[in-house]
Symmetry: C2
Subunit: 188 residues, 2 copies
């Protein structure tokens, strides 16, 4: 009989990240994660479909958040500004999860399959943002280019945030990365 | 005993593309591809490791071509111009393979695994270009952003080339897509 376990999800996630970091992602079993968290395998599978899911379960809500923010931007906002402010608004989300974000990124960087899954996540995010821009009346081509530019900015800002040990304001890094994108693509 | 077969590689590639288009990628077997090409399975495996390889065997030479072109750009060229002229220089390559490119893209668009592999190809291309920009003395961050911008431009130009039935000059579409990227990221 399943007992109610306080914070089971968080405990499983933390146990998984610790084990992935200690022994590697491939080498860690669900049984070990559950044991470390003081829970059962059955409880693990109530929260996560599989081992990678521990690292990617936030992707859906991140996408929903970004798409909603883009939809809510004032009609007068330029598409890139709608995307940039949506990305800036993720700062609170990431800053509350500094330690988790850093551990997660280290696990992903160390595993080719997880790096591929992260790429697919970002490409899916880009498509979803482009789709929302089209709904705002942005042309097909401009929507895709703006969304891809937004994801390039996000990657640059996130990489910098990780390298600078998550000490910086993430929203500021988004604005600076957009400025850098403009600078590197400028015509002389 | 293996006979020498003229154009075996091209015949296998064309047979595979035709079958992928007719019956779907998943449903087509290597035996069917070889039969359609009038060759043996053994000959197929002399040229391609597996079924997807027929679609991705050009990725390595495309990457080598782009990286070499970026390396050869004049020292005075801005990083984005080095990347844009490398991309423009792929025009001859793609324009000689209009029909192949269109068939290949249709097969990829219809299959989630192949779409993922294409994403990974483009991300690998971006990393290789960024690495070459770093060798030219471009800073880490600017190199990654410039390479990502270049790949966004390439995707936009290629998508447009496909939608416009490959009638346009691909190099011109690269230049126009870079202009569009500048326009959509502009600050007002």
């Amino acid at each position: 009989m399943a007992r109610w376990e306080p914070n089971a999800r968080d405990r499983l996630q933390q146990a998984a990240l610790d084990l992935y970091a200690e022994h590697g992602f491939e080498e860690t079993t669900v049984a070990e994660i559950a044991k470390r968290a003081g829970l059962t395998e059955r409880t693990f599978f109530r929260y996560f479909a599989d081992k990678p899911e521990v690292l990617f379960s936030g992707a859906g809500s991140l996408q929903e958040f970004l798409v909603t923010r883009v939809a809510q931007a004032p009609a007068s906002a330029a598409p890139i500004d709608a995307v940039a402010s949506a990305l800036e608004a993720t700062a609170a989300f990431f800053q509350e999860r500094r330690e988790f974000s850093a551990q997660r990124q280290a696990v992903i960087d160390a595993n080719a399959d997880l790096r591929e899954r992260e790429l697919i996540k970002l490409a899916t995010l880009s498509s979803a943002i482009a789709e929302q821009l089209r709904r705002r009346g942005v042309s097909d081509r401009a929507a895709s280019l703006t969304a891809d530019a937004g994801i390039a900015v996000f990657k640059a800002a996130f990489g910098r945030w990780m390298r600078e040990l998550a000490q910086q304001d993430f929203a500021k890094l988004i604005r600076e990365s957009l400025e850098e994108l403009r600078a590197v693509t400028a015509s002389y």
